[in-house]
Symmetry: D2
Subunit: 317 residues, 4 copies
């Protein structure tokens, strides 16, 4: 049974894993792996889950599959942590349809990316006004700011106007690149009361996580295949121990770099999750590039180097 406390809010912190969607080798949705993967995320210490995001291959699922997968995850989580569902869609009717079905099932909020055609501040602000109007005020929203993938750029002024206009937008999934100035400026505006309280969770594969935590981020919402590292870096930075955790982070950087490759990165991620036993197959639905034998060999080499480096640093793996 969902409680209001389980909804996302401007106080959301920690690591929300962008959940992969597991398929079998024949391409069918694999709900057994979905259960195992959900348990994996929970064991690794995530504070929440985000399903049906871009890296969850949301747009390669049918409507039925999306709901079946969501139900499976919600069932495993059992209210233990908040679950956010990505609802981005070309049309508002379909967006709201999925959002309302998901909220009725007990999700903690929805994630919305702008449609790719938006250019001017006015167009972007109008779009989020329509989204909020269509969803109604009771649905908490994560706004996704990811120019590299979406082609839509939010100025700081535009974001500020959106946050001031719509109190239900409580989390910013921040993955502009470079984005440290934007993140720090939003924090200053918050301190000055120029924007309402807001949770800022960083994405972009975690590529700048220590820097972003130092600039005031509340955590991460990203799908890097070692969520326990993300969680430790977020905790460490929050506790003032950046030096300690940044060595750990830098040890992972060669792999993070492989995972943040556009398109191909998802195959990297699923292969790591597969090697870690979290899913039964690294299958990626078409269209989408997959690692060839050379790519897999490079990945294995990178994982071996990571293991060696973690040993040097005295970290368990």
């Amino acid at each position: 049974m969902r409680t209001v406390a389980m909804q996302i809010s401007a106080r959301s912190t920690g690591v929300f894993a962008i959940a992969a969607t597991p398929f079998r080798d024949d391409g069918a949705l694999d709900l057994d792996s979905a259960r195992r993967l959900t348990e994996f995320y929970l064991e690794k210490g995530v504070s929440g889950l985000t399903v049906l995001g871009m890296m969850g291959e949301a747009n390669k699922l049918t409507a039925e599959e999306s709901l079946a997968y969501l139900d499976c995850v919600l069932n495993v989580v059992g209210g233990g942590v908040p679950v956010v569902v990505g609802v981005s869609a070309p049309g508002l009717v379909a967006l709201a349809d999925l959002a309302h079905r998901a909220m009725a099932r007990g999700t903690a909020g929805v994630m919305v990316a702008p449609t790719p055609n938006l250019r001017t501040d006015t167009q972007i602000e109008s779009y989020f006004a329509m989204v909020c109007d269509t969803l109604g005020p009771d649905v908490p929203i994560v706004l996704q700011d990811f120019p590299l993938a979406l082609g839509v750029q939010f100025s700081i002024e535009c974001l500020a106007r959106i946050f001031n206009a719509h109190s239900q937008i409580v989390v910013l999934k921040h993955e502009d690149w470079p984005g440290l100035v934007k993140l720090r400026t939003l924090r200053e505006m918050g301190a000055q009361g120029r924007i309402p309280p807001l949770s800022i969770l960083v994405g972009n594969g975690g590529l700048f996580l220590p820097q972003e935590m130092a600039a005031g981020a509340d955590g991460a919402m990203t799908g890097y295949a070692y969520p326990e590292m993300l969680a430790e870096v977020v905790r460490g930075c929050a506790a003032g121990e950046r030096d300690r955790v940044e060595d750990l982070f830098d040890a992972h950087l060669p792999l993070i770099r492989l995972e943040t490759q556009p398109g191909l990165g998802l195959s990297v991620r699923k292969n790591v999750l597969f090697r870690r036993g979290a899913i039964a197959s690294p299958f990626v639905r078409r269209p989408g590039p997959v690692l060839d034998a050379h790519g897999l060999a490079e990945l294995d080499r990178t994982l071996a180097r990571l293991a060696r480096r973690l040993d040097e640093l005295g970290h368990e793996r």
Copy 2:
């Protein structure tokens, strides 16, 4: 009962109306108007219908609405003319799901646009190979080539390779701009046996219809609100009477120009259909610009001037 003869083929000709999707003033799908609009298209002499295209606001419908609307149209048409259904979607599973449901209901084929991220010839060719593989060989396909709206550019060489590789792609919806050289070159390649037989139906609101018919087009697949004019121009050009019908066409050009405005053109079109009694409301679902009072006044002025000019030319209206 669908018969093979009702499927689209490389011999398809005439005017396929891109059907608008009518809504009530409150935004609900209006199936009464859908019936009336279908009868309107048939009365005006179209050779076929294409539903759930971009100008049919396909991506603003839920999956249930799409099928309800399709069933309504198919029911009115009763096998009288072929009905094509637009199935473009970000993911192949959803695309195939709609296509197979539609074909089972008796549609004559499906229309597929490339996903907006495609750039190189290889990417485009791979995409259509995946589409054909996912749909299976029994689904006739209309390939939509519309760079202005989709951002994807097909070279002639790329199109030729696609047509040679996939015999089920039997119609090209040609709306490149400028596109006369492409159209003529494809015709020459067909005459030389370098590409298989192909129906080329032009879109782009019909803006270059007489020129395109002279360059070898087989007809039009577009939603201009006077389909009877398109039908007469196609017939006239095919009969060698271009001079006669081009005066008629040019009389419509000021209105065509209004209807081909990106975004806003759909509101123009639905307002004309509304004024002609074909639909009960010109409502356009959000997001999408709509004509304001000034825009409606300009439209009425343009329609009055069209009526006067048709009188001068001795045409009924």
Copy 3:
């Protein structure tokens, strides 16, 4: 000798021809034709000239050629009408260098388009702030708003902030599409004192000239090959005789449609200017598509139909 009165200002009206840049058949700059073409524009009743614009193939000229061509035009004009020079460039130093050389020679102002990478309102406003700062306050500026060609979209709010911040931007070259709502809104904002006085000259090949004049435009800045028609439509609309001149305009619409084709339109335009005796060759420098034999035959047909229609309307040609 340049006088202040010859500078462009918020009171600029009429038709500014976007001047073509003539080349010989071997591709060399043709200054003889440049003289003849300048005289042609003046004879046809233009109120000003704009050289080195996009349709003047500015970026295909060397720095030396640009200045030689500009000097030639200024010499023929002899201060009779204002001459604007396009100075858009990837870098501000080169932009200012050309602008200052041109102003020293007696041009009436400069035209600046945004660089193609600009997306957010803030980015666009920052860019024009840098442009004004680099040019200094004594250089009157035409701001070019042409999303289809440049990929940059100005919201009304963004334009208003730019005009309020920079009094030296005195002319808007308006070629957004669709753009009538933007034009009318800017006029209303001017009437309410929310933006300073501004000359709005429309571009886009004149495709919506009567509508734009009715919405409050002050004239046109475009290069359609019959500038005398543009001038008559602007005069007629300003005098409240839209009905009369709109028949004339609509007669030209089939040709305007050919000229506004992206890329290819320039070849159409130069071929018409060539047929009218204004330039010695329709040569277009590479890269750039040119009309083939079929395209030329279509153009000749369109010109013959235009002549016949002008006869019907009782217009000289």
Copy 4:
């Protein structure tokens, strides 16, 4: 005196530094720093230099400044290593003008990026055919394949056709992302004789340098502020000692990540070069983002961590 041996060729290897262009704090071109920076690159063991590239702020220089800077660099180099000059420009006439002036001064070749509007394979191939035709056969060319910055995507098939058609294109500056499959495939095609011999030098800030060397790259052409590291990694990989040099490379990865940020990365790079004493000011010409105080503090922290890690690894710094 330039000799044929100093021209770039399909056998070019090692590290070509993409040279920064130094300015004084007041924005003026700083030729003293240009001399010092050139000596810095040579001391750090580069095999060549590339000036007037994107990261050399080429499009922010006047034509005079470009040549003054080039002359300064050529004078210091004195024929010791090959110097490539970036000549990309919107128009072919200006491109050829700079290329021919540069070759006359003794440069080793020119670098050409596609213009941003190119989409189809045919458009891209036509463009390079025009470039080669305009330059003449005696100018060796580096083709820049950098989709993230340029928006133009080369398929492998397209590149192969270009290399087969134009023997003067002897170097590929490879910075597609992800790009390992492309690189490896080109090497296989070369081994099979399907493309002529070709030097592949990787860019992209060196972000995947060890992987790219393992995939068959001949070296790097990029401007990372520690060229001695790039040189050692290239040498080490070529000598079969990847394990040894990859530790060194990974130590630099946190800084490389900062330098590869779009836009801002140039300010990072110039600040590192400034801290290393290679230039007198980190000034970046407008438009272009610069590091603020927080960004500089993060940079200093990153440099301190790099120094500590190099100590651990027993590397000099």
